[in-house]
Symmetry: C2
Subunit: 82 residues, 2 copies
């Protein structure tokens, strides 16, 4: 397992309810790919959303996001953290 | 106070020690601007670093990062989180 930060763009105007619903949708199916989404942060003004996850691979993260209808623009492994 | 996610690029090959040193440098001067850097995550392969902070403004976050020699490419307010 490794840690990933993924980035979604084009989500201008996203609301707290929409972010929570998207996160819930991911949590409901994440186990299929051995992924766990830990946190997400959204900037409704620029339409950017960042998701932090633990997963076996970047592809696994992306497969869950695609399955729930919101593919990420980028998925980065972040092996270093402080 | 608000929450911000900032993104650094061009940090290919960053090591755990370099990330820790950069974070420590920020922590040493952050109070000047009322900022607190909570976490940072780095992808040495693409050279991307994400920093999560609490701050009075995006400009305050950027001023601290500039003061310590690593200006952010983007600073996003992230008022929504899960």
């Amino acid at each position: 397992m490794a840690t990933f930060m993924d980035v979604h763009t084009g989500m201008k105007g996203i609301t707290a309810e929409q972010l929570a619903a998207a996160h819930r949708a991911d949590l409901e199916v994440e186990a299929q790919e051995g992924v766990h989404f830990k946190h997400a942060w959204a900037d409704p003004e620029s339409g950017t959303v960042y998701c932090l996850s633990e997963a076996p691979s970047a592809d696994a993260v992306q497969r869950i996001h695609k399955l729930t209808g919101h593919p990420a623009a980028e998925v980065h492994p972040v092996p270093l953290s402080v």
